[in-house]
Amino acid sequence: VRSVQKRSTDTGKVEVHSVTVDCTVTSRFAHTVMTSVALNRANTSQEIFFDVELPKTAFITNFSMEIEGQVYVGEVKEKEKAKQQYEKAVSSGQTAGLVKASGRKMEKFSVSVNVAASSNVTFILTYEELLQRKMGKYEILTRVKPKEPVQEFKIVADIYEPQGIAFVDAHATFLSNDLLPLVEKTVTDKKAHISFSPTLEQQRKCPGCDGTLIDGDFLINYDVNRAQSLGDIQVVNGYFVHFFAPPDLPRVPKNVVFVIDKSGSMGGRKIAQTREALLAILNDIHEEDHFGFVEFDDKIVPWKESLSKATTENVAEAIAYVKRIVDVGGTDINAAVLKGVDMLIKDKQANRLPERSVDMIILLTDGMPNSGESHLPKIQENVRSAIGGNMSLYCLGFGNNVDYAFLDVMSKQNNGVARRIYEASDAALQLQGFYDEVASPLLSEVDLRYPDNTVEFVTTNHFSQLFNGSEIVVAGRLADNDLDNFLVEVYGQGPEEDFQVQGQASAINWNVVYPDEEYIFGDFTERLWAYLTIQQLLEKSKTGSSDEKGNATAKALDMSLRYSFVTPLTSMVVIKPETEDSTEAPLIANKLTEEQRQQAERVSYRYHSPQQRTHYQATPTYFVDGD
């Protein structure tokens, strides 16, 4: 929470009474309410800002303001309809509430409102997200940046996990030795409570100073117990959710081809970071895995025509090879990826790779194909047809100018995902981090099956892989509301044999599991299902056929409106109170797509403060002159 702040420091005073972040997680579904109360102590009205950051994976579900006892509540509308109000506001010079990109994990929500002299304003922002399990843990990230010490500052998180909590860690980037003991953590079998509430004095950088120590990320990580190989199925209020991440599965060997763009535009940091990350990956590669490299510019040059087993000798040879990769030339993504696919197919056919193993291609590029086939839909079509659903394609896109949408669609069409690699100092770590997530497949071709006649509107239930440290989540609605038992089966391919389990799911009696909690937050399983369904529909609206795209978009819009989620298809409109002589202007909260975020970041580069600019050693010069 960047909390409330004044537009100008020379005019009146804004006193921030409180900043509270209240997060409730129930079965991975997090519901966070950020509240900030401020008083305009000046003797004239002035504009007060509410500036917060929320996770990219979250959907805003509500925003309201209370000014002089009057509450202004947000309403989710179809984006196009909201846009008309938004454009009216912008054209009349009003500040509209905006969601902007803010780094890798967060996006920024910012609004301002005119507050009369000696009046209070309360801002309340609510958002929800399904926490994703990565590397064996869930993460609740709260970014806090109040400008000054705040009378009441509080971060509270309550985690309810009926499976039982395996561990909880809470830490913050700003924690000093003095602040550390203020993080309170209470963990019982199925419940955790974390709070952090420093006093005004404890927030100060030094006694009597204005500055605050509270500036950074507050992180809570936890995991749940996993005893059942079937996973955990929870049935609540007519909806079910199935969390599948069985313990103690051996990893499946993988065959990975790294397709590396070494064209001229990868020059400088990008290629250096690529080398650095590949070296780190090679040092960690499992000995039973096979790997290969295809480096490309306008020419396609495989390291070797076949994949190599990750023996010590081969890895040493690969390390020497990676160190020699230099940037030059154009970009032929099409031929390079097809070469990688071809290598995997040929090696599989020639029995050079283990029969039960997972095939994947990791493409590292900054995009912009300009050699060979350069028509993007044609490349996607070629790659999809070559892969034929038999392997996964992961795309790592470097830099702000990469055509992310192209990579995103291409990966999703081939059972993979795309990830942007931000060119910050830790780009190599981002690459490694991504690789670590996919480094250990446990199962392939995972199918989660439920009786057809008892469930409906089930989210995606087939997954090409399950990776160690991750989790598969499927949710759906029960056709019969009274049903509290149903048969669940899971199939998958393991390294030695097929994985096959079945069991009975039963409804949880929350009053028994949490007898002291009167209210957690109502219909969370239904909202979890809606969140997951919307996410998957939004993906389908990008990758499906044109008919599928239209249907998926319409359904996603309908559900976003029904469940009051601010998604890329909807906006939240709050009618903003204005001064007596001006008309009402709406505030709008939008959700950015990854492409829009990228666009915003290209722009925001231009708004670095002068201090930040001094970090750049060389400044570009643009000039015109004569000889």
């Binding site: 001229g264 306008d298 154009g330 643009y622 000039f623 002159d625 004569g626």
Partner: protein
């Protein structure tokens, strides 16, 4: 005039020439959001040189910062500053500095003018003085933008469009017409261009001889590199 886009991050530069009839006025920078406009007018040589090539140069720039209410007219003859209803005139023959609320000017005698517009942009205009009795050439100006980071994302113009940075790739290096200037293929803004490795001069340090900066030269008035073509940047007046 030759345009140069220096890209220190890539340790590389792009360059191109824009020529048209003497008297033509081009928009170099236009930022509608911040209200900044830089136009420049070209002149030709006094008469057609023996080689028959008409060279053109900038001799006059008009600069406006609408929000700050500042207008500057800089020519090879003198420098005029208008702010609100005030006007000041500076001569190239004097070293002078002027500090107004929204604009700082520093004139280095017969050499350069540094302009800083408050919270927006900083640039230098160089004066190239040519021997008065030179049979062909006459005085001309160079325009160097030094700090553009506060301009808006919508900034455009012959120079302004590059303030966002530019993505390009060069491949297929091959011998060119001149031995020391190889040709190559450049992929930029969706175009495939034939470019030549050459150099152009940066006169900031040495206004007389300049300093050679290697660059990829884009032929035909920067066609393919600039958005549209050079005629799209022609305007009828300096302001």
């Amino acid at each position: 005039p030759h345009f140069m886009i220096e890209l220190p991050d890539r340790n590389d530069s792009l360059c191109f020439n824009i020529n048209d009839k003497p008297g033509t006025i081009f928009t170099l920078v236009r930022d509608t959001e911040t209200g900044i406009l830089v136009n420049g007018q070209i002149i030709g040589d006094k008469k057609i040189p023996p080689n028959g090539r008409i060279n053109t140069y900038f001799w006059r720039f008009g600069i406006i910062h609408q929000a700050l209410g500042v207008r500057l007219e800089v020519s090879t003859r003198d420098i005029s500053v208008f702010q609100d209803s005030n006007r000041a005139k500076l001569l190239w023959s004097d070293s002078a500095s002027l500090k107004a609320p929204n604009v700082d000017l520093v004139v280095s005698k017969d050499r350069s003018l540094t302009v800083t517009l408050k919270d927006s942009v900083k640039f230098v205009i160089l004066l190239h003085k040519v021997w008065k009795k030179h049979p062909y050439h006459q005085d001309y100006l160079g325009f160097y933008t030094l700090d553009t980071h506060l301009l808006s994302p919508s900034v455009h113009g012959l120079l302004g469009q590059f303030y966002h940075g530019i993505d390009y790739e060069v491949t297929d290096l091959r011998p060119g017409e001149v031995l020391e200037k190889p040709d190559a293929t450049m992929f930029v803004k969706g175009h495939q261009l034939n470019v030549t490795r050459g150099w152009q001069r940066d006169f900031r340090r040495d206004v007389k001889n300049g300093e050679n900066i290697p660059c990829w030269f884009i032929h035909n008035n920067g066609t393919g590199l600039i958005d549209g073509d050079e005629r799209d940047y022609i305007v009828s007046g300096l302001f």
